[in-house]
């Protein structure tokens, strides 16, 4: 591919044609914050934390989706970039629970001096189902003095995973992973409009009644922990989630001949979640229900009517390993 020449913050760099500005920035040794971007998904450029300034453009440009052009002048740290990134992070942090975003994002938020309290105290959480029932165009009058948020009770509808949409930044990644970029199941989409937009099944039916096949690929791409293994959710709630104490073992799924790689996250001798390496040629991070959730048989602990998670919790509470 023909090389394209551009500058990033004044430094000349050439990258293959068709590359994004983000790739050019990375090649120039200047990583940018991203939330809605993932190598394995089609860019949707909705989160706007990766915005950069391109000379000649009236507004800022999403580096994740914009393709480089010959002679482009890109600025990643100009005043408008700094201001907009800061405010965009603040918009997110003041409306969404970002407690589970990765360390890198947290560093960026510190870098931009993000202060979500500038917009007022967070409004009380919406009751279960209230946000899902909102109709397009019907105005939600602001509650005086409060900053509106997407806080709401988590949707816990099965043993496998939890949808905690109070943590959802609406990055569209799960929709893409469930849809044409990976799973082609189309169980979830963005419904509603504006601030009332949310990830939803048709009429917000439970996931168990929807088209969902429990591949967990949406969990794999979610950047905020809104989609989370039930086991991780419970352990976190109980204050027992302990990444220091976890090991991650890479192995090959034993169910079929495709050869998906698994990463088994183990704490207290229990598998607490399963992921797949993003850079693996077969899976690109995606799995099916068997590889993702079908791990009980390797740790059948035998206790009647208790799930392994219950036992991990019990183990934690008692400070030791429970004999089945």
């Amino acid at each position: 591919m023909k090389k394209v020449h551009l500058t990033v913050d004044g430094a000349a760099i050439s990258v293959p044609g068709g590359a994004s500005i983000l790739q050019a920035c990375r090649a120039a040794g200047k990583p940018q914050p991203t939330l809605c971007y993932l190598e394995t998904l089609t860019p949707v450029n909705t989160c706007r934390v990766c915005l950069v300034q391109v000379t000649g453009s009236r507004t800022l440009v999403p580096s994740c989706s914009r393709i480089v052009e010959e002679g482009m002048e890109v600025a990643t740290d100009s005043e408008p970039v700094r201001h907009t990134r800061k405010v965009v992070f603040e918009f997110l942090a003041s409306s969404v629970d970002l407690s589970l975003v990765d360390a890198e994002t947290r560093e960026w938020m510190d870098f931009y001096d993000v202060d979500p309290t500038r917009y007022g105290p967070a409004a009380p959480a919406a009751p279960a189902g209230a946000r899902d029932a909102r109709q397009a165009g019907h105005h939600q009058v602001p509650q005086p003095g409060w900053a509106e948020t997407v806080a709401q009770p988590a949707k816990i509808q099965d043993e496998l995973f939890v949808r905690d949409y109070g943590k959802c930044i609406l990055c569209y990644k799960c929709v893409e992973a469930c849809g044409p970029d990976a799973q082609n199941t189309f169980a979830i989409q963005v419904a509603g409009r504006g601030f009332d937009a949310r990830i939803s099944t048709e009429f917000d039916v439970d996931l168990t009644s929807s088209a969902c096949v429990y591949c967990g690929n949406c969990i794999g791409v979610c950047p905020t922990g809104a989609l989370i293994f039930r086991s991780e959710y419970e352990l976190r709630n109980a204050g027992l989630w302990d990444e220091e104490a976890q090991t991650v073992t890479r192995t090959v799924c034993s169910y079929c001949g495709v050869g998906c790689n698994l990463e088994l996250w183990v704490q207290d001798n229990r598998i607490v979640k399963v992921t797949s390496p993003m850079d693996h040629a077969v899976t690109a991070g995606h799995l099916c229900i068997k590889g993702r959730f079908g791990y009980q048989y390797v740790q059948e602990l035998g206790g009647p009517a208790t799930t392994p998670i219950d036992m991990v919790l019990a183990a934690g509470r008692e400070g030791g390993f429970v004999e089945p």
Partner: protein, 604 residues
């Protein structure tokens, strides 16, 4: 596609409504009864699904207008018929304000609460209708010249527009046994009623029967198409460039340059006419479509010929039932008369126009959101580039133009580009329609040359009703300007020079007794309601803007480090620089200008 459905089944009326639009289901694979053959062949598939997706919004509208909402059973049936996943259908249905995903009354009154109507009685109207669950407040209905405006959605009947509405009118339409006449006479414009014989764009509006092709032809109609077909596309585009005409939809892009960009692309091209007209205060395109629908059909045909398109789409906002009926009738008549369809006027050029109705979403006026809406997706704007000229509707090179832009074409063809350009100014050639409402004596659409001043225009509309405090120029995505600018010539360049924009040519003067706090809050609420929700700066920014404005106006600022005024400026800046589309870019304009003029906030 292997779709999964909930157990909700469609009722007979729901099936009938969808089948009337789509035809009966061809097989058990798409919602029909299962025949033995269906077990042996798989019909449909990916290509079928991709090919019919664009019928999604019309199918949902058919259900909505038949039974008054989109029920789970109906949604499943639409999904099955079109091979669209139910979650996707719900995603689309829940995007539009005129589609309900919960059961509601069979007749629903949408009472305009927007900037013009709320200063002219609609708030009182809403108050007197309070407590009714079949009355909802609505954003601007494009009838600001006849405030208070109401749209009544009626399952199984025509939707009806009411104007200068009273509580009794609304109650009667909601409860009345007899369907109201969908065609109450009269669609004149003030200038023709005053006897002006100098009108060109508006000369037929209110003076001919909009259903009559004969009357249209008798007043010079179709002379331009006949001439255009002899000129050839290149010469036609040259003439348009010579005319110097710029788009009237808000962005003021030169038409000739846009068309050339499209013609430079592949051979399969598309024409789209943008009749979404949802910018509060704007109603000019409605007037033309209601009063002179053939002129738009002729103009679209000329444009299609110029850019070499075989097909055109006309996207009319859902709140314009009458405009849609008039244009639909004109399309039928033109096709029957050989003026549209195969081999137009024996020229060898073939062109079809399809009408699509909006679903109640301001954002669908943004060109790329409009494409997504037609294609059956959520009306979310696309990041540009690529621009419509490269990849527009269905990914094809597309010329998209506003109604008013297009209806200038017959004039340009008949008198020549140079003659057209001799009006107005060098950078703003020709004539312009303005929408006057608010505190003026004779609200309505006015046709003037570019360069007419604000004062002249307001005087043309009978003058202000009281001393003017400020004028909302360009719509709610435009700005308030003070009376010191009354002598501002209305051109693209003069408005630009003082940091404002003509926008959609809204001129809405407000008198000194106006409650600007209330107007500003309404504008903030509008943007919050109409944001598509896709990008963070606009989705959250419009909420934070409204909250800060409430604090500012309510006199309860945050204790935080920065004042709400400063915060508003920061929010505005982030929305303008960081949003995907023009809605977010302009969502802070009117509020910023109101603050700068001292109309709101910071007063004792």
């Amino acid at each position: 596609m292997d779709l999964h459905f909930t157990s909700a089944f469609p009722s007979t009326p729901e099936r009938v409504a969808v089948d009337r639009l789509l035809g009966g289901p061809p097989s058990g694979w798409t919602g029909g009864a299962r025949a033995a053959a269906d077990y042996h062949v798989a019909l449909g598939g990916h290509h079928h699904a991709v090919g019919v997706r664009h019928r999604l919004l019309p199918a949902l509208q058919a259900v909505q207008s038949a039974i008054g909402w989109v029920s789970p059973g109906a949604l499943n049936y639409v999904a099955e018929r079109l091979s669209v996943p139910p979650a996707d259908v719900y995603a689309v249905a829940s995007f539009y304000a005129l589609l309900a995903t919960e059961q509601q009354s069979l007749r629903m009154a949408h009472v305009c609460e927007d900037v013009s109507c709320r200063t002219r009685g609609s708030l009182r109207l809403l108050e007197s209708l309070a407590g009714r669950d079949d009355v909802v407040p609505s954003p601007c209905l494009g009838q600001c010249d006849r405030s208070p405006a109401v749209l009544v959605q009626r399952a199984g009947e025509y939707d009806a527009s009411l104007w200068n509405a009273t509580a009794e009118d609304v109650a009667e339409v909601l409860e009345g046994a007899t369907p109201i006449d969908p065609e109450p006479g009269h669609y004149g414009v003030p200038q023709s009623e005053l006897g002006s014989d100098r009108l060109r764009l508006l000369r037929r509006v209110g003076t001919i029967d909009p259903y009559s092709l004969d009357e249209y032809r008798a007043t010079g109609g179709y002379a331009a198409l006949t001439k255009a077909l002899t000129m050839g596309p290149e010469e036609l585009i040259e003439e348009v460039k010579r005319a110097g005409i710029r788009g009237r939809g808000g962005a003021a892009f030169p038409v000739g340059a846009k068309w050339e960009a499209v013609v430079g692309q592949g051979p399969d091209r598309m024409l789209v006419c943008n009749a979404d007209e949802a910018e509060p205060g704007t109603f000019k395109d409605r007037g033309v479509m209601e009063g002179d629908p053939f002129s738009l059909v002729e103009a679209m045909t000329i444009a299609g010929y110029a850019i070499g398109a075989g097909r055109g789409f006309l996207y009319i906002r859902g709140e314009y039932p009458r405009a849609a009926r008039h244009v639909a009738s004109a399309l039928r008549t033109a096709t029957e008369s050989g003026l549209l369809g195969d081999n137009v006027l024996g020229s060898g050029f073939s062109f079809d126009i399809e009408i699509r109705m909006g679903g109640g979403a301001y954002i669908c006026g943004e060109e790329t959101a409009l494409f997504n809406s037609i294609e059956g997706f959520r009306g979310e704007p696309r990041q540009k580039p690529p621009y419509p000229a490269e990849a527009g509707l269905f990914g094809l090179p597309t010329a998209i133009n506003n109604v008013e832009t297009l209806i200038n074409l017959p004039l340009i063809v008949l008198e020549g580009g140079a003659a057209y350009a001799s009006r107005g100014t060098a950078a703003s050639t020709g004539i312009k329609l303005f929408c006057l409402s608010g505190d003026v004596a004779r609200p309505g659409v006015y046709e003037v040359d570019f360069g007419t001043t604000l004062r002249q225009l307001i005087d043309l509309a009978g003058g202000p009703l009281e001393e003017i405090a400020a004028i909302l120029l360009g719509g709610v995505s435009g700005s308030f300007v003070g009376p010191d600018l009354l002598d501002l010539p209305l051109t693209f360049e003069d408005t630009h020079a003082v940091g404002v924009s003509l926008g959609t040519a809204v001129v809405m003067p407000f008198g000194v007794s106006t409650d600007f706090d209330d107007l500003a809050l309404r504008i903030a609420a509008f943007f919050r309601d109409e944001s598509c929700g896709q990008c963070v700066p606009c989705r959250v920014g419009t909420v934070r803007q409204e909250e800060a404005l409430h604090r500012l106006i309510g006199g309860v600022p945050l204790n935080g480090a920065s004042s709400d005024l400063g915060l508003l400026a920061e929010i505005d800046e982030a929305m303008r620089m960081g949003s995907i589309c023009g809605l977010g870019h302009t969502a802070g304009n009117a509020i910023r200008s109101a603050i700068a003029l001292g109309l709101i906030g910071g007063r004792p």
